[in-house]
Amino acid sequence: MRRLRKLMSLTLTGVLLAGALAGCGQKDSGSADSDVIKIGGIAPLTGNVAVYGVAASNGAKLAIEEINASGGILGKKIEYIEYDDKGDTTEAVNAYKKLVNNNKVNAIIGAVTSKPTLAITPLAAKEGIPMITPTATALDVTAAGTNIFRTCFIDPYQGEIMAKFALENLNASKAAVLYNTADDYSLGVAEAFKNYFEANGGTVVSYEGYGADEKDYKAILTNVKTQNPDVLFLPDYYNTVGLIAQQVKEVGINATLLGADGWDGVLTVAPEAVEGGYFCNHYSTDDTAEEVQNFIKKYKETYNEDPVSFAALGYDTVKILAAAIEKAGTTDYDAVVKALAETNITSVTGTITYDENRNPVKDVAIIKIENGQNRLYTKVNPQ
């Protein structure tokens, strides 16, 4: 037994060491291969926010398949190389470096959530590589460099839209806002909502933050209840929204629930608790536009599930990038970036052009949850 133990431990040490050495000596696999156009993807494929990463990634892959099936761009096929950032900044930086240095990609799609995206923007800005994040809504993302674009609309915009909607469409005068202090998306949307709501005659009776790992909202909701708000704004991702919504019912609050694009998917979590709520989104599956229905059909065929808005954004991002490369006629960084700035295409999430901050200008869909279904309630134009 003792011998065996010793042998095992020796082997184990050996394996670990060999692994360590192998790791150092691993060779570059990527070289500038001109037969294909290489697009690098960075998304959280595992970890807390994997749901969004996988959706965005699936959308992007679907678009690439379509493009390759119809002959690629500039007569070349697209090769999509993707790394998992786990929603973590360090991993995102590693993934970025690996894509640029080892795989020598021509452009970057990613990252999906704001923080990892913010971690790589300085690096991307330095190298000037064309980069589009499908879904990172934080205001600062595109500020790092003129080569950084996004497909989604920004946080403050969503907050304002929902505040306007609450005031004008729902005639609300008292609003309560609960937001996740550890998440810049949630914070940014909440702040914008509060500012707009108060500036336009409403009162925010309760503005409360909670931590990222929070699961028990009853204490906060008990406070909210005493204020009797007309609407309760919950700008967070749908898992958290589902938890809060159920506890809203437990505590017995009757306010109308409002949310932002993070709500997409909430029906899989707590359909009953969010019944009657409204949220804004990048697109609606109800939309009768041809691009939308086509996309939904193909997505369902490929992945056997309904596409959430992150999937649509991933899909559109590839379309935007492909169009720009086609227009530039080359994969040269500067040429592609210039073409990106002049984007004007109509795809699943609307007709997209870019403003001077490389943020998209497009419609917002407001969705009502009725009988356990998402229904397109209205479309709001940015102007």
Binding site: T46, V54, Y210, G211, K215, D216, E250, G252, A270
Partner: protein, 295 residues
């Protein structure tokens, strides 16, 4: 709602979550008492309890009674298995090695469930109707009622088990002095297994109650309640069963009152702050005896 009613409401919220912490803390404290190991994997027993329940109800569609008992038994067996495979061989090794092993087991369980059930948190089926019952100005959720009831009942049963039954007494003997207990004819190994079994079963119930209250389960869901329950156990005096219960309730109430009256984000800081203050005044916890090293 007047000030008093609001306060009582927050107190009830605190007792609800506190009773779950207490149940989980019991598992930590019993194991610590008997083999002086911080069983990091205990938090994952909570997670396993939740997933097993989910599978029983959603996948196999078992009747509710069976679907709630089966996970408890499975967790109980897992507890025994974990001890036998991962901790027993290290009983005479440096204590830190056992601690790291426990962390390894915790990682393993989390990632096995991660692999099996994927990255998405899964909505937990609604077992109890969440709508509140009104008691005067207070509104108490049915979930709160049932949770507190079950927890208190289990704690009373555990207390009787440990004080009145032979195996329970054996557990106390082994945690006092394993060597002497062995000389008295107590089978130390099976007593340790029994401790893990009891702790894990309580953890499973805690996990189910936790998932009913916060119906979204994911492979890492056990980490935070596990940590807090462990802090509760230390707060009450680790190794001391009534201490774990007391600690659990204090933690729950402190958390709820902080969230209700100060700030939600500071709840963790306040909880740990209480821990620091208590340990500074009573270095071995609220109910712990201050044992001086014999010189």
């Amino acid at each position: 709602m007047d000030v008093l009613a609001k306060f009582l409401q927050q107190l009830i919220n605190g007792i609800h979550v506190g009773s779950i912490y207490a149940l989980i803390a019991l598992g930590y404290t019993m194991v610590y008492g008997i083999i002086k190991l911080i069983n990091f994997a205990h938090g994952d027993i909570i997670m396993m309890g939740a997933y097993f329940t989910f599978v029983c109800i959603v996948t196999f569609n078992l009747p509710i009674g069976v679907a709630l008992i089966t996970p408890v038994i499975l967790c109980l067996l897992s507890g025994i298995l974990i001890e036998r495979v991962a901790y027993k061989p290290l009983r005479n090794s440096p204590r830190l090695s056992a601690l790291i092993t426990a962390i390894g087991v915790s990682f393993l369980l989390e990632n096995v469930f991660f692999k099996k059930f994927g990255q998405n948190p899964i909505p937990f089926p609604q077992i109890i109707n969440p709508s509140p019952i009104s008691l005067g100005p207070l509104q108490i959720s049915r979930i709160t009622f049932i949770t507190v009831l079950i927890s208190v009942l289990l704690m009373i049963l555990l207390d009787l088990f440990i004080k009145k039954t032979k195996p329970g007494k054996a557990m106390r003997a082994v945690s006092e002095d394993p060597g002497a207990a062995q000389l008295m004819g107590i089978n130390v190994n099976s007593t340790i297994s029994l401790t893990f079994a009891t702790g894990s079963a309580l953890g499973a119930v805690g996990g189910i109650l936790y998932s009913i209250a916060y119906p979204l389960i994911d492979p890492f869901m056990g980490v935070m309640p596990g940590l807090k329950a462990f802090v509760a156990a230390v707060l009450g005096g680790i190794g001391i069963i009534p201490g774990a219960m007391l600690g659990g309730f204090i933690m729950g109430i402190a958390e709820s009152l902080t969230k209700g009256y100060i700030s939600s984000q500071l709840a963790d800081a306040v909880v740990f702050g209480i821990l620091i203050v208590v340990l500074s005044l009573k270095p071995s916890g609220l109910l712990g005896k201050n044992v001086k090293e014999k010189v």
